[in-house]
Amino acid sequence: MKGYKKYYGQKIAWYLITFIIAVVLNFALPRLMPGDPVSAIAGQAASGMTDAQAIKKVYEEYVERFGVNDPMIVQFGKWAKAAMHGDFGVSFSQYPRTVSDIIASSFGWTLALQLPAILLGWLLGNILGAVAAYMKGVFDKVILPVFLFISNMPGFGMAVIMLTVFGIQLGWAPTSGAYGFDLIPNMSWTFIRSVISHYQLPFWSIVLITIGGQAIGMRSMSIYELNADYVKYSRFLGIKDRKIVGYVFRNAMLPQVTGLAMSLGTMMGGALVSEIIFSYPGLGTTMMNAIKGNDYPLLSACTLVITIMVLLANLFVEIIYGIIDPRIKAAQQD
């Protein structure tokens, strides 16, 4: 138990440091922009607005928020304090909505879309890789290569093809948004049905491109494990192949768990861009709008939320991993 405590203590401390560095980067990077960022951003932001009140409000907001004359560290203090209360200021492009409000409404969509899609893709990929390694034949020679080819496709490419084929040509599912444009979010059956049917294309496009990459990793791991000495030894003690395959896949699966954590950031990046194709109202689309509208506070909040999501997911995976893999415990005792 002592080993575990040390392990988790270290992990959590490490993630806290990483989190702080991520926040600092998020704060500092845009301020390294050449010239005076505040007037540039505020000027650009206000140029699209016609409402004089709004322009003034934005400008004041900026001057107050950035405290241009304060030293960097004081600015950071103010910014961080407000951010801790969930206050990221007012959006330029969607004035008068606050950044927190926009993030709150898009975050859920992204989470509900990507988390299940990536997990399902990961699971199916692992099953396919294991089956390809163990059964070989058609799985190894046909199905796996097909999914490998698909996984080389960029996320938005898969999205656009799914949209054209299943959305437009076959008309199986709606092509844009998260629910019918004529509906108001509520808990009625019509609305839920609409959400589910809008969910299909983005969901499966993420699942499909995730499978191949996971499958090839799992295949390699499984082949490696199938050749391990313990497999031979277990066979010579008369243990059934079904049971041995169980050992093998459990062991091959463990590195795949860490693999998932490590590639999560990349996967999310791809999936966020896919959202744009489907005009899905998640963080990806919000981020694109923020960039197009030069809406710095919104963009920075989006990237921060994404970073936190990835960090939490990683931390979660490491905690789970510590429990399911006894090798971690053993390493702590050395």
Binding site: M33, P34, P154, F156, G269, G270, M287, L299, T303, I306
Partner: protein, 415 residues
């Protein structure tokens, strides 16, 4: 070394990937020799012209005519009336035109039009048909009248008195040879939203994107290799610092860093080379990690110790005793980084953070414009599908090369 190369080129996967990749690269260099048009020239006035050969109408009129015994009318009827309209026509004729269902089922396009011309009457009683639908049928009728007419077409010119004077009459059996027409242009993949030739633009964009991939891959590999070698070989505090930074940037998504950095450099500074360098500078961690662990396992091998005892400089030991052993990993990482670099550029461009330049196109920008102009929603497949295909085939060829190398260096994975 020679042996390794021979093995590599005996791996079918590697060879296929290699041929596709370098074939594509070569194509981007050869294509401009044959098509010298400016890839970003806005040839078409309007969005998304479909693929095909466009000939000048005026030239057609001025060209020499040949009379061919081809029934031009029936070909027109078949091609120019849409399937939906045909179905509508059949319905109308059965419901209001007094044509029997059996006769209708047996009718081909020509008979259908003949029946239509014979039976359609806009004044007939059309019970249960919406007014708008009735009007649509009238329009359809006019269209069909025109198509079905085989009267000569008169070409007239305005004379000095401002009157029209017949210069020629063309009947439906007259043809021109396309060789006689001097003004024509083929758009193999149509045009994009700006009226630019998609194929020519695509070839140039592929070249630029490959350049981005190569720069990004080189930058990432150099940083990763250097830091990995040093931290693995020197160890100690230096190693701790490097490993901390590496872990840090493995967990903070490089995608987020890319967005923040490209956004913060500002629109004006965002050139192709800069974007490529930034992509490379945010994706070196994997190389660094694997090089480092390799170096640590090599550090205490006999041949390295021998070199140390012989008093060779660190530089020399790293270059001659360590580098050759990590080379295979580095090459494999480099190959993967080219493809992820190209993908990263495409994703950035989709978000509106791609290279901001008006003189070149990239695959990501082509995709971005196609999406902004809703090519995927209005059926202009030629504006986005070739782009997706090129990105996929580049990534696929690089991955094949990588898998081939992996199997050469790790024989266990062979089939």
């Amino acid at each position: 070394m020679k042996n390794t190369l021979r093995n590599i080129f005996h791996s079918p996967k590697f060879v296929i990937g290699f041929v596709i990749f370098f074939g594509l690269l070569l194509f981007t260099f050869i294509y401009p020799w044959f098509v010298m048009a400016d890839p970003l020239e806005m040839v078409g006035q309007g969005n998304f012209f479909k693929p095909g050969t466009y000939v000048s109408v005026k030239d057609t009129v001025d060209s020499k005519y040949y009379t061919l015994n081809i029934q031009a009318k029936s070909a027109n009827l078949g091609d120019h009336i849409e399937d939906k309209d045909k179905a509508d026509m059949r319905d109308w004729l059965v419901n209001y035109g007094g044509v029997s269902q059996e006769e209708m089922d047996a009718a081909d396009d020509n008979t259908l039009v003949a029946l239509w011309l014979e039976h359609y009457d806009s004044k007939a009683k059309q019970k249960g048909l919406l007014a708008s639908k009735k009007k649509a049928f009238v329009r359809l009728d006019k269209e069909i009248q025109k198509l079905a007419s085989d009267a000569d077409m008169i070409i007239a010119q305005e004379n000095e008195d401002g009157e029209l004077e017949e210069t020629a009459s063309v009947d439906s059996q007259q043809y021109v040879n396309t060789r006689d027409i001097s003004n024509k242009r083929t758009f193999v993949l149509g045009t994009d939203n700006f009226g630019r030739d998609v194929l020519t633009e695509l070839v140039q964009a592929t070249k630029v994107s490959l350049k981005i991939g190569l720069i990004a891959g080189t930058v990432a590999t150099l940083i990763g290799l250097l830091l990995g070698l040093l931290s693995g070989y020197i160890g100690g505090v230096f190693d701790d610092v490097i490993i901390f930074i590496t872990n840090l940037f493995t967990v903070i998504p490089s995608f987020v860093l890319l967005i923040l950095i490209t956004y913060s450099v500002g629109q004006n500074a965002r050139g192709v080379t800069l974007i490529a360098t930034v992509i490379g500078a945010t994706s070196w961690t994997w190389t660094c990690r694997s090089v480092r662990s390799q170096v640590i396992s090599l550090r205490n091998r006999d041949h390295v110790n021998l070199s140390k005892l012989s008093g060779h400089s660190m530089m020399r030991i790293v270059l001659t005793d360590i580098l050759p052993y990590v080379a295979s990993y580095v090459v494999m990482a480099f190959i993967l980084q080219i493809s992820s670099g190209i993908l990263a550029e495409a994703q950035l461009s989709m978000l509106g953070l791609g290279p901001s330049t008006t003189t070149t196109a990239t695959l990501g920008q082509m995709m971005n414009w196609a999406t902004l102009y809703a090519a995927h929603l209005n059926g202009s497949w030629w504006a986005y599908f070739p782009v997706v295909f090129v990105i996929t085939i580049i990534a696929f060829s690089l991955n094949l090369m990588n898998t081939g190398l992996d199997q050469v260096f790790n024989p266990q994975l062979r089939d």
